[in-house]
Structure formats: structure tokens, C-alpha cells
Amino acid sequence: MSSNEDQIMEKEETGNTKKPGYSAKDYKSPLKPIWCPGCGDFAVLNALQQSFAKLRLPRHKVAVISGIGCSSRIPGYLSTYGFNSLHGRAIPLAIGVKLANPDNTVVVAGGDGDLFSIGAGHMPHVARKNINLTVLAMDNRIYGLTKGQMSPTTPLDTYTSTTAYGSYDPPVNMVKYVLAYGAGFVARAFSGNLPLLTSLIMQGIEYKGFAFIQVLSPCVTYRGKAEYDSIRENSEVLPDTYDPTDHKSACEIGDIEDKQYLGLIYRNDNLIPYEDRIIEMRKHAQKGKVIPVGELINLYRT
């Protein structure tokens, strides 16, 4: 028995897998998502596929890197290169992928726990280094995959499987953190607003530098179906008049916690991406005579 028979696969809609075009379905993998029906992550998958299609990205030049979590399953559902790595480690792994070959488009997807609890230590550094990645923080305010424990974004006083008497850790404010880290592209989206989500992902990918998108992506199983409505109630799309290039307004938006503003919160096109700095530095290093690698030993001749 060939071992891939025992995995549920959807029929590919195009028979020809060798010459994919640029329609959303060309970015679908044969795996059928095993998210719970109604899970917000479906929308993120959908938006990603649409974004890739609209940007006409050849799928072999895209790598989607994730950690571990419900959300982190996403690379498995895409026909691009993917890496479902370790819990919390998508970002440094993606840095390696990007720097090894800056030609490729590298997208990071992960959960609130993955990126802001166990992975929290990587975020300031990727942001300040300004590595050209697009990060989708799929925030469901809970640990989905491990079945319902408090996450760093779980609101105060929530009953979860690890907070039998209500949670008492004040939640993380992703946007505020990432702004403080100096990120040049910061946005907030919602699984319930697919066009906005898609548009932000596209902008993020096109942005030359570190792009961070918080996606409010409800976990219907551990936070209930009502989560969609409650997000709808407590969120608002930023008005057209809002100027995302103004850092002060961005910080104000970031500070607001009772209302979740959706849209592009901050964008700074004057930051230098890390890859460019590396290229500069190499030039500097190569100013003198570059000896062939095999002759490096002679540097140690006394």
C-alpha cells in the first residue's frame, strides 16, 4: 500500500498539477482542511490563495512557514512550498528561508500563542531587523490545537481549561507591541471581512520589509460561535481619512483596546530592509581583494 493512500485528499480541480496558473485554486493543496466547521482560519487560507493569485506569484517561489497550532496547519493546505515547523519558531525559521534566497516570497502564519507566547522573544528582533516577511498572526484568543487553554490574548476573566476560576493575566496587545518594535507595516484584519483581509495580505507581501498583520480569526469550538458577532460589534474599519503613514495616529489606534480598528494601521516606506543592508555590507567587505576560498589558509601563514 502506498503510504499516501491513507490520508484524506480532495480531488484536485485541475487535473494538471505541473502547470499551475494563477487562480486561487492553483494554490490549493490536495489536503482537505481539518479545521472545525466555521473556524476563522478558513478565511485566512482563502485570502492567502486569492492574494497569491492576484499577485501572480509562481507557487514555487513562495514559502509559507508556520509553527504549531490549528492556525499553523495552513501551509499544508497550500500548494506552495511550506514548512510546518515547531511551536513558536516560525519567525526565525522564516528568516533563514528569506535570507538564503531573498527572491522568494516568504509568509509566516501562526497563532496568538505561537507568535506571542512561546515565540514572543523572536518578534522584537525580526521587526527591528526589518526582515522582508509577511506575518499573519491568526488570533483566536485561545489555544485551539491543545483544546482550549488560556492564550496570551485571552480576555481577562475568561474561563478556560487552565483558568478554572477565570483568567487573570491581562492580555497582550499585538499591534501595540509590534509598533513599539519599530515595524514598518502594521495592520489588523478579521476573518469575517475577506476583502479587507485579502487586500491587507497583498499589501503586506508587496511591502518591502517586515509586515505584520493581526487577523482576528475566531475559534468557534473553544470560544463559541458568538465570537464572530462580538468581534463585529467591537471592531470598526478605519475610515478612508485615516493616514497610516502618521506614526502618532498609529500609536493612538494601537492604544485603543475596547475597540479593534481594522485596516492598515501603520506604514513606513522609509525603512531599509535587512537584505539591502546585507548587500551593502557585502560590498564593503569585498572592497579589498577577495581571495579564493581554497586559499584562505594562507591568511594564517606567519
Binding site: 501551509p75 499544508g76 528582533h125 601563514r301
Partner: protein
């Protein structure tokens, strides 16, 4: 000031001059004393004149002002180890000397130089009782201050004195001073040359006593001089490594430091990561993306990388991890050497994770082994751990040359057109290796993951498939050991007493074998450079020729022996010499063990040949030292 010869308990002894083509000098001081710098200049001088040398440095945990020592062994012929007891000790501070208890031992008839102003009198020196040193007091500071005009040059003054007293390569010293200060300023060069000269002149004119050490040699063309860490850096570049991520840690930092300088010249990238987990993740990411990649760290960093190592195993991502071992556990002894990360290297990550462990055994070998590491990693899509240690990594050694072309540079197995028709990244194969694509290759898109997966990379929780894939990964082991017979033998075939060790203990093994063989005591040494998978057949063959085996290692719990026992049948009796790290393994103790355990009894004449200076007490029964030694196992 004149030399003082210390009679033991009032008895004035006669001594003979030791004519020798090898000399071991120790220099001890506080950070500011420049002991290490002096050692480095001496090493550079030696290499310049074509001498062999090994320089080891030892620090306390302090940045500045703490105790430091340099031990340099010079020789016209190849020197195998760092030297045992010192011929010459220069001691700027006896307080610091005491902090190296157990690390610096003196020969009976050694020469000791120390500052004239020191309050400690020649008959109060805090050295082992019963020695017969020639003690010479020199006004280093006064000379540096008053004659040279800069107190900081006292270490160079001292070099001048040594050069004169022991006939060290003076042309070399001049060249070394030029070399060291050329990037700074002409004035500095002149100042130091002056100091050197003042030292020699002082010795010539004021030190009249004779002493027993008569060092002679002939010069030859300049040699290479480098540390193991430097050898690893340039070896990695030679193997095609173009991505490195790391986090500073003693005693591995110099690898990253060298690479940050060199890598950009070859369009490679070095990232100083926020921590070791990130470093390993970046390296795995870069390798996934098709670039040969490595990280370098020490024990604490490796402990943090365990989960990442497992990821590379199951996702079959090649990469090289260099562990320059230091004393553990935890922060332990960051500036000292140990061989106690062996079990971690093999068994450290959770689950059944097959990876490869190699160990270089000297500075030159660092250059080779790192290249083998890349070859194995790339050919077999497996993480490879290179276990170096502080002795190798930070020691400076001189040698004739390195060979940049003798190890095949491996390129990753890409899929063929046919493979790509129904591309299965983890296709079950006989060799355990399957074609590997990377982002950028059209038609080769796949999902890499740390989750148990199907041949196509998609996750599965099927017990059956998991078992198949685990088998596949373990199948790599036998081919690796076939293709990479990495081990060294020393001594003559037919000897029935074997010495077995790994890594930096090779120096002692090789030297012991050399000395014994010269004296007609049959001893053979074996040093595996591939530790996992273990070359079981080779070892088994070798064991069958032995009647006695001595296993030597720097691990208190005896990890190497535990590991050997776990994998294979060992000779039914063996002697285990183990101790924790922090100090060199004394040659004398190994020689004693050999004499105790070799088949035919060793004659006094043979002992004299092995130890012409009589410094190892080969006649007495071995001193009981505090560490476990000579445990005899019945297996």
C-alpha cells in the same frame, strides 16, 4: 638579581643539563600582565621560524584582571599535546598561580622566573614540595617602566629574557611583534622591539647562573598558525557553507567572529541571532531554502537547540552544529574544556532521532572534520554535530599546511524530471535518502514538517507510516559509516595494549604511543573521529587483537565508555581513565597506566627512554589522585 638554586632541605644537588628539542613554558598572571599576549607572540615567533607549537590559554571567568595562563610547547619535531609538566614557569602573580591548582605542574628541575619586587621569597613559593627549581628573579616592571618607558611592556621584556635564557627564535619574535602590532602603529612596534631587546640584554648581562634547560632546534619554512575555531570557520567556507547563524558563547564565539569577517566576501550571510533557538531555526530555514548552513555554540546553546535538532532529523534538513565543549553542566566552567556533551550529542533530543556526531582531534583536523560534516549532512540529509572542545577551539597550533581539495564537496540530491512527476519528498528508499527540492524549484513544492508524515510530507498519525519513515531515517546510518571511515590509528600493528579516546585527548594518546613505541613498549592507539554511528565493526576487529584496553576521556561520569558499552561488546577487562574537564590529562598518568597494564613488564631502561628526564615517577606506583583513574571494569 641573580638566579637562586633551591637546595632541597639544605642538600645541594648536582644536576645535568637537559638537551632537548622540546620545551614547555608556562606564563601566569592577572589579566593586565599580558601573559596570554606573550604566549601568542611566542607561538607566532615559533611558527615563523618553522617550529611546531601548541599554545593553550586558560582563563578564570573574569574579563579583565582575573587569572590567566598561557602554556606553550615548542619543538623542532611535531608536538602532539599541550605538554605535561613545565620546563619553565614565568609567574607574574603567585595568587593567580594558585587558582590554577591542578592545571599547571612543574618538572622537578624546572626554571622559575618571577618579579623581583614580589613579597614571596624564593623559599616560600607555593609550589609542590620536593621540587628542585632554578629560581630567577627579574625586575620586569622596573625594566619596562624605567628602561622601556611603559610598564605594560613587561611581558615583552620577559620574552626578551626567555629568548636569551632558552635560545628561543629571536628573528621570529621580531617578526611576531611586527605582525601583531602592524595594524596598530609603528610606534607600538618600536616600543615592543625595544622591550624585547632590553629583556635580552638584561638577561645576557645580569643572569649568570646556569640552568638545566638546553633547548635546541633548527629552523624551517614558516608554518600555518591557527586555532581550531579558525580552522572550522575556513573549513566551513571551503565546504560551501554560505549561511551561518549563531549567538556568542565562550569558547565557540571565534567561529562566528571569523565568519562575520569572511562570509560576506563570498556573498554568504551571517546572522547574530537573538538566541540559540533562533540561530538553529534560521539555519534550518536557510538549509530548507537550499543553502549549506551551520551554527556554532557550546553546551548551553546545544541544550537550547535540542528541539530544533529533532526537527531537522524528522524533516530531514541537513545542517551542521558545532559544539565547542566547555565544562558543564549549566554554565559550569565556561573557559575550561570537557568531553561531557557526548551523550547529549547522540541522545539529547526527545524521540528516536538519528543524527551524526563527528569529533575533530586536533587543530588541522577541525578543518577536515567540518568539511566531512557538511558532506555527510548534505549527502544524507541529516543534522551533523561536530564535537570540538575548548582545548581544540582556542588552542593555537602550528603545522605545515592544510589540504583544501582532498574532501569531496557534496551537493544535495535534487530530484530528476521523473521524480518530479509525482514528487514524494520523503519517498521510502533503500538508502534512506530521497531527492530534496527547495523553494525556487518548480514542481518540487512540498510541505516540510516536524510532524510524522507521509511520503509526500503531509501529516499522518498512522502508526504504520510513522514506523516506515523512522526506519527510512535510521537506514542512513550504515551507509554513512561505510562511506566515511573516519578514525586514526597510532603505533604499530600487533601491539596488545590499546589506548582508545576521542577528540582532544588524541594528543595525549598519540604522544604516549610515540614515547612507548620508541622504548619498545608495544602500545597502539585508536581515535574515532566519527562517533555516531559508531564504527562498531572496525572497533570490534581492533579489540580482537588486544589483550588490554585503556579508555581515556574527560568526563566524570565516563560518557564515552558508557556509550561504547551501549553499542558493542568490549574486551572483557578494560581500564577506564576518566576525570572531569578543566585541566589537561597528564601524560604521566597515562604512561603510568600503560606500564601497569602492558603485557610484558617494562624494564628500567625502557622507562628511561620513555621518560629521560624522570619527571613522571614511572618507578613508583601511580600516585593516587583525587579523580577516578584506572578503574578496572570487568565486562
Amino acid at each position: 638579581m641573580h638566579a637562586v638554586r633551591l637546595p632541597e632541605k639544605g642538600r645541594v644537588e648536582q644536576w645535568e643539563t637537559r638537551k632537548t628539542n622540546q620545551i614547555t613554558i608556562g606564563i601566569v598572571g592577572s589579566g593586565g600582565d599580558g601573559a596570554i599576549a606573550a604566549g601568542e607572540i611566542m607561538a607566532s615567533a615559533a611558527a615563523h621560524e618553522g617550529l611546531y607549537c601548541i599554545l593553550t590559554k586558560s582563563y578564570g571567568a573574569t574579563i579583565r584582571g582575573g587569572e590567566t595562563s598561557a602554556r606553550i610547547r615548542l619543538g623542532a619535531n611535531r608536538v602532539h599535546s599541550q605538554g605535561d609538566k613545565l620546563d619553565v614557569l614565568v609567574c607574574f602573580s603567585w595568587k593567580d598561580f594558585q587558582l590554577f591548582k591542578g592545571e599547571l605542574e612543574l618538572k622537578d628541575q624546572c626554571v622559575i622566573l618571577y618579579p623581583e619586587g614580589d613579597v614571596i621569597q624564593p623559599d616560600q613559593l607555593p609550589i609542590e614540595p620536593g621540587l628542585h627549581p632554578t629560581v630567577i628573579r627579574v625586575p620586569f616592571i622596573k625594566l619596562a617602566k624605567e628602561e622601556v618607558g611603559n610598564e605594560l611592556t613587561k611581558n615583552i621584556v620577559m620574552l626578551g629574557v626567555l629568548a636569551e635564557l632558552f635560545d628561543l627564535p629571536k628573528k621570529g619574535l621580531v617578526a611576531a611583534i611586527h605582525h601583531r602590532f602592524e595594524r596598530k602603529s609603528k610606534d607600538l612596534i618600536d616600543l615592543n622591539l625595544k622591550a624585547l631587546n632590553i629583556g635580552s640584554e638584561y638577561a645576557k648581562n645580569n643572569i649568570h647562573e646556569s640552568h638545566p634547560v638546553n633547548f635546541f632546534y633548527t629552523t624551517s619554512p614558516p608554518k600555518l598558525l591557527m586555532t581550531g575555531n579558525e580552522a572550522i570557520a575556513i573549513g566551513a567556507l571551503n565546504a560551501g557553507c554560505r549561511f551561518m547563524a549563531g549567538y556568542p558563547i565562550t569558547p565557540a564565539t571565534e567561529i562566528m567572529e571569523s565568519l562575520t569577517r569572511l562570509m560576506p566576501m563570498y556573498d554568504g550571510t551571517v546572522v547574530q541571532a537573538e538566541d540559540e533557538i533562533a540561530a538553529a531555526a534560521m539555519v534550518i530555514g536557510a538549509s530548507f531554502a537550499g543553502v549549506k548552513a551551520m551554527t556554532a555554540t557550546s553546551g548551553p546553546g546545544v541544550s537550547l537547540m535540542q528541539e530544533m535538532l529533532g526537527l531537522a532529523v524528522i524533516a530531514e534538513i541537513p545542517f551542521v552544529l558545532v559544539n565547542v565543549q566547555r565544562g558543564g553542566p549549566a554554565t559550569g566552567m565556561p573557559t575550561k574544556s570537557e568531553q561531557a556533551d557526548l551523550m547529549q550529542a547522540i541522545f539529547g533530543c526527545h524521540g528516536d532521532g538519528f543524527k551524526v556526531v563527528l569529533a575533530p582531534c586536533d587543530v588541522q583536523d577541525c578543518y577536515d572534520i567540518i568539511q566531512y560534516a557538511f558532506a555527510i549532512a548534505e549527502n544524507f540529509q541529516v543534522p551533523v554535530i561536530v564535537l570540538s572542545d575548548q582545548f581544540l577551539g582556542q588552542r593555537k597550533a602550528s603545522f605545515t599546511t592544510l589540504f583544501p581539495d582532498h574532501i569531496e564537496v557534496a551537493e544535495r540530491k535534487l530530484p530528476t524530471e521523473t521524480d518530479l512527476e509525482n514528487y514524494l519528498r520523503y519517498k521510502i528508499s533503500k538508502t534512506g535518502v530521497s531527492p530534496m527540492t527547495h523553494p525556487g524549484i518548480e514542481g518540487g513544492e512540498y510541505l516540510a514538517s516536524g510532524i510524522s508524515h507521509l511520503e509526500n510530507g503531509y501529516p499522518t498519525s498512522s502508526y504504520f507510516v510513522n514506523e516506515q519513515q523512522t526506519q527510512k531515517r535510521y537506514r542512513k546510518a550504515s551507509r554513512i559509516i561505510e562511506k566515511y571511515p573516519l578514525w586514526h590509528y597510532y603505533g604499530q600493528k600487533g601491539a596488545t595494549l590499546g589506548l582508545l579516546g576521542w577528540g582532544s585527548t588524541k594528543g595525549i594518546i598519540r604522544e604516549a604511543v610515540h614515547l612507548c613505541t620508541t622504548a619498545g613498549i608495544d602500545v597502539v592507539g585508536m581515535v574515532p573521529r566519527i562517533l555516531h554511528p559508531l564504527p562498531i565493526d572496525e572497533l570490534q576487529d581492533w579489540f580482537s587483537t588486544l589483550s588490554n584496553l585503556i579508555v581515556i576521556e574527560m568526563s566524570y561520569s565516563g560518557q564515552f565508555l558508557q556509550y561504547l558499552r551501549s553499542q558493542m561488546k568490549l574486551p572483557s577487562t578494560l581500564v577506564h581513565y576518566k576525570r572531569s574537564g578543566g585541566s589537561l590529562i597528564p601524560l604521566g598518568e597515562i604512561l603510568n597506566l600503560i606500564i601497569e597494564h602492558c603485557e610484558e613488564s617494562v624494564t628500567p631502561e625502557q622507562k628511561r627512554i620513555v621518560d629521560p628526564e624522570g619527571i613522571f615517577d614511572l618507578d613508583k606506583s601511580p600516585t593516587v589522585s583525587m579523580h577516578l583513574r584506572g578503574d578496572i571494569y570487568e565486562l
